[in-house]
């Protein structure tokens, strides 16, 4: 008894000391008297309440402190280790290597990527051989590459603005030329406003999470491009997929969701349809009027990625809305790429003022990234000017598309999924009749009709055995390399293997350009034809 009190004595004195210091500091705090009075009076009225409030207060502090590192020390899966055990575990742990080396075929593919020396355009020079080739690979639909007027304006801009903007749009990175380009785009398309992002690819991955939040509903095409997939993933919204470019399937999905909602009587959430104008993966074109009709019928908002159709189709390159004569204002968020459509860099989203203003605060890659260099914005503005005033560009382009299709459509050993008017043309190998599962569904389908259900998309990889897929890739790569040897530059559609939602079949992707004449296009496609026939006939 005595001993405990002596050992406890210093403890008590310490406690007393700390209590008094606590009290004096508390008294020094401004407003402490008010707090004290409040506690006293509430305690008088109801002592139970003091306890309750104290518990609440402690609980609040606990949650506040916990939220920092989300430690699950108290979780039921936590195992208590001693320091020594931890040291041993640390010693034992062997991480996997940071990177796996590339496979042989990946290495050779990477080495085979053509590198251009000097300016790129319809007839670039290859760095490896020094030879000039006809370019059906690079994206130069309207032939703006190398335009002297644009180059001159770019130099003038450089001499006035320098190159980089050195800041995000919120912090002195908004230049007058950015506002001009935004205005030009909105005016060109006929929407209220537009917003500029500094990279085309990152645009939609940023636009989707700006609007779609947890609990919202997204209905999307199964074959949307990778950027859209990532945007959907990061939005954490509920996703429903419909069959590739099958608007009947879309309608079915929309109907189902509506039924479920009625049953559950959930609150009204934001609902979006997300799809592409011309699909990056296969050049298929969406039936925009029908899509708009459905969107209004079911009260969805439409996010349309026109990266491969803005500056590519329509009488003056305004994209799908011009082609189908639908006012662009009916598309809630219309996205395009200044890199693909205007031969510059960056991307945009056009829509109503409210839609655009919202992104200026909520679009991650808008808010947290530097604005694009002034001279690239001016180049894009000049590009729009040229498109606006030169309808002949797209007449030439369509002529080239027709010429190319006239040649390609007669080759038996291939399938072309792309829309007949699309300057992006994908070429699949037609499976041999003897080949497995897949052939039956594909070879007989009439791929030109927009309503074809592409059975190949959702499970191409499953259906086609891995080896078969690889073999097809090799075959197409051989075609690409043979063509290059004969002076025609093509590319296989490069994809992120194993990361795509649904892996499309291997394809060669042509990008036609109005910078080549019909004759030149025919000649180049003719080379492709002879190589395709030669290489594919060797299959058995």
């Amino acid at each position: 008894m005595n001993t405990t009190s002596t050992t406890l004595a210093p403890l008590f004195s310490f406690l007393e000391y700390s209590l008094t210091t606590a009290q004096t500091t508390f008294d020094k705090l401004p407003g402490s008297a008010v707090v004290l009075r409040y506690v006293k009076s509430s305690h008088q009225n109801d002592p139970g309440r003091t306890l309750l409030e104290l518990i609440l207060f402690l609980f609040a502090i606990r949650t506040l402190l916990q939220s920092r590192t989300r430690a699950d020390r108290n979780g039921k899966h936590f195992i208590q280790f001693s320091d020594k055990e931890i040291d041993e575990l640390v010693d034992e742990w062997v991480p996997e290597p940071l990177e796996l080396p590339l496979t042989q075929s990946e290495v050779s593919d990477l080495a085979a990527v053509p590198v251009i020396t000097g300016p790129n355009g319809p007839k670039p020079k290859l760095a490896a051989t020094g030879k000039t080739v006809t370019n059906l690979a690079s994206l130069n639909f309207a032939g703006l590459a190398g335009n002297e007027h644009i180059k001159q304006r770019a130099v003038e801009t450089l001499r006035k603005y320098g190159l980089g903007s050195c800041g995000p749009p919120g912090f002195y990175g908004t230049l007058d030329v950015h506002m001009d380009l935004e205005h030009d785009i909105a005016d060109f398309l006929g929407t209220e406003a537009a917003i500029l992002y500094s990279q085309g690819f990152s645009t939609i991955s940023s636009v989707i999470p700006a609007f779609c939040k947890r609990g919202d509903i997204i209905v999307a095409d199964r074959a949307v491009n990778f950027a859209i997939q990532k945007g959907i993933q990061i939005s954490r919204s509920t996703v429903r997929w419909y069959n590739h470019n099958d608007l009947n399937s879309l309608e079915e999905v929309l109907n189902n969701i509506e039924k479920e909602r009625k049953k559950r009587r959930g609150p009204l959430t934001r609902r979006f349809i997300i799809t592409e104008g011309i699909f990056q993966k296969d050049g298929v074109m969406v039936d925009l009027p029908k899509l708009i009709e459905l969107k209004y019928q079911f009260k969805y908002r439409l996010i349309l990625d026109e990266s491969y159709s803005f500056g590519v189709v329509g009488r003056t390159g305004r994209g799908l809305t011009e082609l189908y004569n639908v006012p662009a204002a009916k598309v809630d968020m219309l996205l395009g790429s200044c890199a693909i459509g205007l031969g510059s860099c960056g991307g945009f989203c056009a829509g109503s003022q409210i839609v655009i203003d919202h992104q200026r605060i909520n679009g991650p890659s808008f808010v947290f990234s530097a604005s694009m260099p002034a001279l690239l914005a001016v180049s894009a503005s000049e590009g729009i000017n040229i498109l606006r005033n030169t309808p002949s560009i797209f007449e030439t382009l369509q002529e080239n598309v027709r010429a190319a299709r006239a040649i390609l459509d007669r080759i038996d050993s291939i399938i072309i999924p792309s829309h007949p008017a699309s300057p992006v043309i994908h070429i699949y190998v037609r499976p041999l009749p003897s080949a497995g599962l897949l052939s039956a569904s594909v070879s007989t389908s009439s791929y030109l009709s927009a309503s074809v259900h592409h059975a190949t998309f959702p499970s191409a990889k499953d259906a086609m055995k891995h080896a078969e897929y690889e073999a097809e890739e090799r075959l197409l790569q051989e075609v690409v390399e043979d063509c290059l040897a004969q002076g025609v530059m093509l590319t296989r559609a490069k994809r992120l293997k194993g990361q795509e939602l649904s892996e499309p079949r291997p394809s060669i992707r042509l990008a036609l350009t109005s910078a080549l004449t019909k004759k030149e296009t025919e000649k180049a496609v003719g080379v492709l034809k002879s190589v395709l026939v030669k290489v594919l006939s060797r299959r058995r």
């Binding site: 401004p30 407003g31 920092r68 699950d72 936590f78 195992i79 931890i86 742990w93 940071l98 990177e99 080396p101 590339l102 990477l110 990527v113 053509p114 590198v115 251009i116 300016p119 790129n120 370019n135 994206l139 590459a145 190398g146 180059k151 130099v155 450089l158 603005y161 320098g162 190159l163 980089g164 903007s165 050195c166 800041g167 919120g170 002195y172 908004t174 230049l175 007058d176 030329v177 500094s198 990279q199 690819f201 990152s202 990778f226 009204l268 031969g343 510059s344 860099c345 919202h358 605060i361 890659s365 990234s369 530097a370 260099p373 690239l376 530059m489 590319t491 490069k494 992120l496 992707r509």
Partner: protein, 663 residues
Amino acid sequence: MALTRPSQSSSIFKKRSSNALASAASYLSALSQADASARARNSSHSSPTSTPALSLSSSVTTSSSEDTVLHEDDYMNDPVLASNKDGLLLPPRPPTSEQVFTTVHTEFGHSAQEEYRTTSQHPAGKPLAIHVPQDPPYYILLSTYISYLILIVLGHVRDFVGKRLNPGSYKHLMPRDGYAPLNSDFDSFYTRRLKTRMDECFSQPVTGVAGRTILLLDRISPDYNHTYVFTGTRTRALNISSYNYLGFAQARGGCADAVEESIKRYGISTLGSRLEGGSSDLHAISESLVAKFVGMEDALISSMGFATNSTFIPALVSKGCLVISDEFNHASIRFGVRISGANVRMFKHNDMKNLESLLREVISQGQPKTHRPWKKILVIVEGLYSMEGTLVNLPALMDLKKKYKFYLFIDEAHSIGALGPHGRGVADYFGINPRSIDILMGTFTKSFGAAGGYIAGNKALIDRLRVYGHSGPYAEAMTPPVLTQVMASMASIMGLQQTMPTSSVSEPTLVRGSEYHHPGPSTRLIPPRMDQPPPALASGAEGRTRLRRLAFNSKYLHHGLRKLGFIIYGHPTSPIVPLLIFNPGKMNMFHRLMKERQTPIIVVVVAYPATPLVTSRVRFCVSAAHTKEDIGDVLDLKHGRGERWSIDEVIKRAVELGTSEEE
């Protein structure tokens, strides 16, 4: 100094709480006093109104000498911009006959004094001083909380009344004919009721070069910041806001000449992604130059800095991996990590103790539920934090790395170019072998006055990223003008070999731990038009001057503000200098008072949600383009008493402050 737009400002004040008003008023008086003293000091200088803005010597930049008076059309047509009333157009002292400046003073300030230079280097063997954020007095905290409280209550009251009296303006926030609102009134509360009040500080449109000065497009808001109208006039302001650390944002000079030549030779775009027909020899050249610059085996360039993180991190980690991320990491890193599907844990900002205990926990516990060991652990940090100005504690981190075998990813967006005796970032600053770090990432938007970003590592890793990173097949490649700016600015820091004997360029650094020499000058990597580059560029002398000017300016501003008695975060060598303001009401005030001084200065104010609620701040971004006098202008904020130094004392002892080793 009086507020020139009384109607607007008074309306803002009325809505403020009384304590905010009191402190705002004291700010007002302090700043106006400061301004008066500045005017007095300026007039005591002989103002060299008769000297031309430029004294370009034609012998140095042969290419741009023909049009020596720059922005001629711009400046001369506008009487306000053509005058030196703001003290920004002309240097305070006319250059002497032997001084030769090749830059436009408004883009890159003229400064010849060697004493206003220092080196950015960590003293070898000394541990990094732990940065302890200084706490404000309690009454500041309390009044800050109360201000927010009042703002929030007022906001709700306004919403309550507004919805009843003026439902039209709430239409887009309410469900309407079967559509849920894009943004509910609840979600947008902060934006509508708090941010709108200080919108004048944000998204100010500008024109011209984001160099030492910048031209503001003057705007006013007739309707309490809902819309803006441009008045048509422009104001030149001292720019202490752009990420132009090395001052490469220039419309004239060697880099711009190279870019012009490149536009003529290469055009605007390479038309496609890197893997699908958009690869140019310029990409290959600049990638090897970047690799050499940062000291890694290989590097990969992407056309956007944000996308460098958001599209390559997913190729590094996946399910079953763990990312350990500093709590203040940039949004692009979070974006990339979230897409990757890896697990994430956060540690307290730059707190190596906290990181170590977290590492011990996660390695011993393994993956959640299954307790399987993690496939790999990637620690992601930034070299220099853009809101805090803190440096990563790299020496301590490298020790942890040895013990815990994690992989290290450093985002050098702000530190590359800005830190280190050779401008090669944090590794250079601490004298650590860059090859002992797994992945170095950085952007060109900042120090290099360009755009886009890079990621560097060993060759196998980078090759894998070329194929498996999202950018390779899908994102547009970097454009030739941007590539050229990157090459020209980098090469001018490194120096070019063919014109220089190897020995005299950059003395190789012997580094702790291993024998690593930063690569010397670049060799065959000759950007267009750099075949005969100006001698100052080729020798690396100009680049070195930029590095040394930046280091001096950063330290001078940091120590100067400290001595004046402000609460400053971050490391003295950091070109990012955050000055804590706390009270939301003071942010507008500070911003406006700075802008409306005789020498207008534009500043960045950041508040919640970019910072914690109470620690609203002003962020200065120092540049090599600033002169010592410019920094003095910025410093001229307040007269100190007692322990604080007075502004005159700070300015007098500039050299001491700017080269101080104090941390």
